[in-house]
Amino acid sequence: MAAKWLYWFDELGIGDIELVGKKCANLGEMTKAKVSVPPGFALSLEAYQRYMQISGLTEEISGFLQRFGEQGPGGYGEFLEASSFIRELMETKPMPPDMAAEIRQNYRSLCIQCDQEDVAVAVRSSGPVSMPGAFETYLNVRSEDDVIAHIVKVWASTFTVQAIGHRVNNNHPLLIPGIGVAVLKMVQAKTAGVAFTMHPTTMDNTKVVIEGTWGLGESVVGGGVSPDRIVVDKLTGEVEKHINPKLQQVVYKDKGTHTVDVPEALQNILCLNDDEIRRLVALALQVEKYYGVAQDIEWVFDDSQGTSDLYLVQTRNISVIKSRKKEAEQIADMMLRRVFHSRVG
């Protein structure tokens, strides 16, 4: 049997970074922790290699690169030339039929699992080392054909001008072992935000602090709006609610996101009901217990299927990120107000 190169998240864990890249390994670990992350599967670095070998791309690219001599492409112009040639070559090369068939089959399983025809997915790059922004990610991808096309696009993004330049300047080989790709269900956020299983400023570990707003969580994560704030006492279960006016929200557009006004009726009511708060706190505590240290969690409630489904999209140890992340947001606010005289934020 051919080597395995496609894994569902529940088959993966944090030890699998070399196999499927960082993002997939993290999603796997969270799935293992019984945290409901958006369902999906990962293509390993091996899948990238298979595609490159079987379709003859490794050979064709090596052949093409010979024109730059032993030193490889030097200079921005040649990076650009190599990048556009290789990316076009890859994006027009069909996926080997056996691979395409297996991806189609697994995408159909995902549709069935989500109980949707042509479920919208995100196709994300998952490099074994962090190189933010280097490779592409595609949102709102639907249909078997599009999923396959976008996986290839993510693979081809290993030859962006920036990626080639980085390799040349650091004397790394131009052909790389590959990157992982995550294919996961798009979450339609009704409400989203962050939760800390320890008070992020007072470090009081008897509290869970939730911040949330309507729409996508990025305005909370990025500090763009004043979110609702809910503080729950872990021991007594007592809940403190602070409602903030939520004038705008971030939602998905065809590709990317945009900001729209929140309907007036929703502006001044809490973005979570009591049942949702209870479920979120229970899940947060479960994650904290699993990892053994306080967690900073990004969460989403999705009501697109008629029920209010809770997903976690990211979790991190508070000890590591606490101070810097929170500070950075606070400072960003101050910068807008004091240096650019902004009236919002």
Binding site: G75, Y76, S323, D333, M334, L336, R338, V339, F340
Partner: protein, 558 residues
């Protein structure tokens, strides 16, 4: 014709004033006026980098600056964002860009420096002497692409770094009533090493080495133009020069003027760097900065502690974070000159000089430095068959323009509105670079001090001494130990003379200007923004520089 006639970015009074009512001369970089090649490069790539940086960052209220070339001078106008809706959209984008910077400044900066060092390594490895004209053409194009990329990173980082510095000033002023008119503020900003000081230290070590190898006498007695010849004739001389050239091949990619192509770099003419070695020999003793820095760092930590006790406990985390970033802005300001402007310009020059030699050999131009009176497009057009072309007439015309421009003073502002209104426009941009470098703070004369010049404090302390007015590089050679430097502005290539000085007075500048940063690290008083100091003070006049109050007294009256 009364212009270089090389680019659509040459100033057109009718069209340009209609689009933008106020154009400011960039006196820091374009006095004396630029050659056509450098002016062309600046209005193309510096302009591009500035707008690229502002756009990538989504600076809420400013899209960078536009540039025009007039009589060899660089003129800038601000591209304001006035639509409220657009400002709000940009604020959102700006916040996103800001977060990773705030979380990991060091990683970001090091990443960009490494990227540039990678480009430099490639350019340095290119053999300009043996390459074919085809390859040399690619190499010139590569060098200009690197130049373009340099400006992109340059402004992306500079906007962020200066922005945080302004934020820190504003927070300090409001919470602690502490601003750059107070010595404590400057003491908070010093006691840091940076790459430029490390280069100075290497030069000091070469002074030591010259003594060891018994070559000091040559440096102390010979004329600079004979240094190399005489050193190489002496025993050990070749070994010394070999070591010195190896050092320059790594760290000597700079000319004595940062923003021009027409002066040699240290790599080309090691004697330019040996002059600085000679200054260390004259001065004798240890490298002051190391001991000085320990003292300044200890003093700084003491002030940090006392300031933090005045900050409410729950606000200390972010206060400390902003303070640490603001403290890095001095090092950034110095290091980016070394790693970005100076290095890139020296490597572009290297490619241009190679073309200058080739086109001279084919009779296309009259002498190698005619190349600075062309633009890259013209080189590309004649490069493959230079014998078939004669560019001497066009060079002659532009050179005579350039010579004329050197004799005249470009007006500081070309505008259809008043200076006050033009300044208001600048302030409205909230552009951190404008505020920190171009405008500076306007001194409020503290008349009760009965001083002769009122400025702002750049570095604390008080010193008395004899003034030395320095208008250009050549004047630097006259400078004697213990004198007070008086100049329109100081430049990165002047850093090595700071150990000789007892104080500095400059006409323009703010707390992140070169003179302030270096003065702080050497612990000598600096007064900036006195406007006409270099005109009113005369060489030889005794003056007192009060860096604590930001004023200058004339002991010998005019």
């Amino acid at each position: 014709m009364d212009s270089y006639d090389i680019t659509v970015f040459e100033f057109d009074e009718k069209v340009d004033l209609e689009k933008n009512p106020a154009w400011f001369l960039d006196a820091t970089h374009s006095v004396p006026p630029w050659t056509p090649m450098f002016g062309w490069s600046w209005v193309n790539y510096c302009r591009h980098g500035m707008q690229w940086g502002a756009e990538k960052l989504q600076l809420p209220t400013c899209k960078g600056w536009d540039w025009r070339l007039k009589d060899g001078g660089g003129y800038l106008a601000l591209l304001l964002v006035e639509d409220e809706e657009e400002i709000r959209r940009r604020e959102e984008g700006f916040r996103k860009q800001l977060i990773p910077f705030l979380e990991d400044y060091d990683g970001m900066w090091q990443g960009y420096v490494n990227e540039m060092l990678g480009h430099y390594q490639r350019l340095k490895a290119f053999d300009i002497d043996t390459a074919s004209n085809i390859d040399l053409m690619d190499h010139l194009e590569d060098a200009f692409r690197v130049n373009k990329r340099m400006w992109e990173i340059h402004f992306y980082m500079m906007y962020l770094v200066f922005g945080v510095f302004i934020l820190f000033e504003s927070v300090c002023k409001e919470m602690l009533d502490l601003d750059d008119t107070k010595p404590e503020f400057h003491k908070l900003m010093r006691g840091f090493d940076n790459k430029v000081f490390q280069v100075d230290k290497a030069l000091w070590q070469f002074a030591k080495r010259a003594r060891e190898l018994e070559l000091a006498e040559i440096l102390l007695t010979a004329k600079p133009e004979n240094y190399i010849k005489e050193i190489e004739a002496a025993p050990n001389g070749r070994q010394f020069m070999q070591e010195f050239r190896d050092f320059l091949w790594e760290d000597g990619w700079r000319a004595n003027r940062m923003s021009e192509f027409n002066l040699p770099s240290w790599v080309e003419e090691p004697s330019l760097a040996l002059v600085n070695v000679q200054k260390f020999l004259v001065k004798g003793g240890d490298f002051d900065l190391d001991q000085e820095r320990q003292k300044l760092a200890a003093e700084r930590k003491e002030i940090e502690r006392s300031i933090l006790t005045k900050v409410p406990e729950e606000q200390r985390d972010w206060f400390t974070a902003i303070m640490q970033l603001a403290q890095k802005s001095s090092s950034f300001s110095e290091e980016h000159n070394h790693y970005f402007d100076l290095w890139t310009h020296a490597l572009v020059r290297r490619a241009l000089v190679a073309w200058g030699r080739r086109l001279t050999a084919t009779g296309t131009i009259g002498k190698p430095d005619d190349i600075f009176f062309l633009i890259p497009d013209e080189i590309y057009k004649v490069g493959l068959n230079p014998v078939m072309h004669d560019l001497k007439p066009v060079v002659a015309r532009r050179r005579s323009e350039w010579q004329k421009y050197q004799q005249q003073e470009n007006p500081p502002l070309i505008s259809t509105i008043s200076l006050e209104e033009a300044m208001q426009q600048m302030i409205k941009s909230n552009d951190p670079i404008v505020l920190k470098v171009v405008v500076g703070s306007f001194p409020v004369p503290k008349t009760e001090l009965k001083a002769d010049l009122y400025g702002i404090s750049g570095s604390p302390g008080v010193a008395e001494g004899v003034a030395r007015v320095v208008l250009n590089d050549a004047d630097l050679a006259e400078l004697k130990s213990g004198e007070i430097l008086v100049a329109p502005s100081t430049y990165p290539s002047w850093t090595p003379v700071f150990p000789l000085l007892s104080g500095v007075v400059v006409d323009r500048g703010a707390s992140l200007s070169h003179a302030a940063i270096v003065g702080r690290e050497y612990g000598i008083p600096v007064v900036m923004n006195v406007f006409d100091g270099s005109k009113r003070i005369k060489t030889g006049q005794k003056i007192r520089v009060d860096g604590d109050m930001g004023v200058v007294y004339f002991i010998d009256q005019e």
